[in-house]
């Protein structure tokens, strides 16, 4: 390969390849996150979820995509056609652009910018235009109101989430996504354990930023129909949807990188080797997980009611076996391949765990009212995030000057102070919500 491609282009080959892979796989991934969401929802609500298209509804996302593709493309009579076309594309593009700086592993990253995190934040803050312009271009009151609500919500919670990220950033001392993960490796602890309050603020902020329940007011179907998406249908609507789910993965990836140790496996610095070989003991974890999944599938297979389901279960079990073999095989491969595959595994596992938390919260909580949402953002999360920045910064300085060598000590002190502040703010914020003093319209 080295002598075929001229060296000036060589540097671009791998990133472009990664980019193509991400752009090609993301719609599929989003589709399957939707399926996952519906299955998780069904499981929590004591029902089965999609079962018809393909075994256990496994082909449902493809059917949905096809349906959306062939639907009639409706543009409202008085809509601003150009912006109406632009907005969903913008929404998806911005979500996809953010993937450029996300490290899916030590190897699999399109570009390691030295302002990586800020870049992702900047790009995702542009996503707001997709919403606002779409709502405006539809020329409908529901859309415009939904869009303005969305925009207000996004701006408010972006602030809190951004400030929460600062606490992690100070610990890492870098904006490059790669260096942030490396810092967690060097310090031997995921930042979620050092600044749990910051992680919590980011969790809440990111749910609100992606317009998920309980902050899904812009699309509160019982009040505003579908918010800024009201007038959209068919594939444009699908683009919005894709953008939303892509954004979910982005915020999950940010949280994973900054707080959950990125591609590091649990206990990354524990390096016992297996019987004198070069294989690290804990690198066997993915293999064991997949083997367990395979065993569960095989146990389940004969218990399925229908023949086809038995076969599918067995096939899924077989797939798990193949994956387990792959994860094991990677251990014997050269370092780059091994790190790449295992890093990607852990990164995706954490991303999905984070998304699972999103879903869990969505199916558990009722929806906030708009004024309550704003009060939570401005009177609770933002002050808390500000104090968090100050406290964590102070602790870091103290740690450097007073030689508190053990990071957990400062972590405990920080967290204790922050919990106190949170309790104080929560007490302030939970004063009975008197509707007489609130309202966004005023």
């Amino acid at each position: 390969m080295n002598h075929v491609i001229p060296p000036s282009i060589q540097a671009y080959v791998l990133p472009v390849l990664y980019g193509v892979v991400v752009v090609a796989l993301l719609p599929l991934l989003a589709g399957y996150i939707v399926l996952l969401e519906r299955k998780v929802m069904a499981d929590m609500q004591a029902r089965l979820g999609p079962m018809r298209v393909g075994p256990h509804g496994l082909l449902q996302p493809i059917a949905d995509a096809l349906k959306l593709l062939i639907k009639e493309d409706i543009v409202p009579e008085k809509a601003d056609r150009f912006l109406f076309w632009c907005a969903p594309v913008l929404s998806v593009t911005m979500a996809l652009l953010a993937y450029a700086a996300i490290p899916f592993g030590p190897v699999f990253q399109i570009a390691d910018l030295n302002v990586g995190l800020l870049f992702i934040l900047a790009i995702s803050s542009l996503g707001i235009y997709g919403i606002v312009l779409g709502g405006w271009a539809s020329n409908s009151h529901y859309s415009l109101l939904g869009a303005l609500r969305s925009a207000a919500q996004l701006v408010s919670y972006e602030t809190a989430a951004g400030l929460a990220l600062v606490s992690g950033l100070m610990l890492a001392g870098s904006l490059s996504m790669k260096d942030i993960v490396q810092a967690q490796y060097d310090q031997g602890v995921w930042f979620v354990f050092v600044v749990p309050v910051g992680f919590f603020i980011y969790l809440v902020g990111s749910i609100a930023e992606t317009n998920r329940a309980p902050f899904d007011l812009p699309e509160a179907e019982s009040e505003l129909v579908a918010g800024y998406m009201t007038e959209y249908s068919g594939f444009r609507w699908a683009l919005y949807f894709l953008g939303e789910y892509a954004n979910m993965v982005v915020v999950a990836a940010i949280a994973t990188t900054l707080f959950l140790g990125g591609w590091l496996r649990p206990f990354a610095r524990y390096q016992d080797h297996l019987f004198g070989t070069s294989i690290e003991l804990l690198d066997l974890l993915p293999t064991i997980l997949f083997l367990a999944a395979a065993a569960y599938c095989f146990w389940l297979a004969p218990r399925q009611p229908v023949q086809i389901q038995k076969i599918v279960m067995a096939l899924v079990g077989g797939l798990c076996l193949v994956l387990a073999a792959g994860m094991t095989g990677a251990l014997f491969a050269p370092d780059a391949v091994r790190l790449g595959i295992h890093g990607a595994f852990w990164f995706l596992a954490k991303v999905f765990a984070y998304i699972y938390a999103f879903l869990w919260i969505r199916f558990t909580f009722p929806r906030y009212r708009f004024d309550q949402l704003m009060r939570l953002g401005w009177r609770f999360l933002i002050p808390l995030a500000l104090v968090n920045v100050i406290v964590v910064g102070t602790t870091i300085v103290l740690q450097q000057n007073w030689e508190w060598r053990h990071p957990m000590l400062s972590a405990i002190v920080t967290t204790a102070i922050m919990l106190g502040v949170a309790a104080f703010l929560a007490r302030e914020g939970s004063a009975p919500s008197e509707p007489a003093e609130v309202g966004e319209g005023n």
């Binding site: 030295n114 934040l121 790009i123 542009l126 235009y129 312009l133 925009a151 005023n442």
Partner: protein
């Protein structure tokens, strides 16, 4: 590659700036201004000012322009689309602006050779732009920084007072 990027962003910036000034629909104008600002951000990146590139996007495009779009949507009157868009002194103003531009252009043109400092600056750029900006901001420019923060505070209070509905 570098100059290609520069010309691409420059043409994009100028074209959308012209469109911004001439569009009848304010929302379209705002969209074109956003394009200009993004193109400028691209030029910052091409100048290896990564931090400013990000600041431009987050603050200008993601913050200030959102505010503009918000206000435009709040005050958007359909009637304003059909009104005369330019004021009565438009010809005089344009001529004045062109004269000013020509003046400046001439000045730049005459002095362009003495300005060319390229190679010297090239060598002095630090690789870690964000850190050097941070260092400079919090060491050499501490006082202006604080003043800027007070300015922002004043502006914030002013905006709140101004926009608050008098009940």
């Amino acid at each position: 590659m570098n100059s290609l990027l520069f010309y691409f962003f420059s043409i994009l910036a100028i074209a959308s700036a012209i469109l911004m000034v001439t569009r009848r629909n304010i929302v379209h104008g705002a969209v074109f201004l956003i394009t200009t600002l993004l193109a400028t951000a691209g030029i910052f990146l091409q100048l290896q000012a990564e931090f400013l590139f990000v600041v431009q996007i987050i603050l200008y495009v993601g913050g200030i322009m959102v505010l503009f779009v918000f206000v435009i949507m709040l005050v958007n009157l359909d009637v304003s689309l059909h009104l005369v868009q330019f004021n009565r002194m438009k010809f005089v103003s344009t001529i004045l602006a062109v004269v000013l531009a020509g003046h400046l252009f001439a000045a730049f043109w005459i002095t362009r050779n003495s300005l060319n400092l390229g190679p010297r600056g090239e060598a002095m750029m630090q690789p870690r732009n964000t850190e050097s900006v941070g260092q400079a901001l919090f060491q050499n420019y501490m006082l202006p920084f604080e003043i800027a923060s007070i300015l922002l505070l004043v502006a914030m209070i002013g905006a709140v007072v101004m926009a608050k509905r008098k009940v």
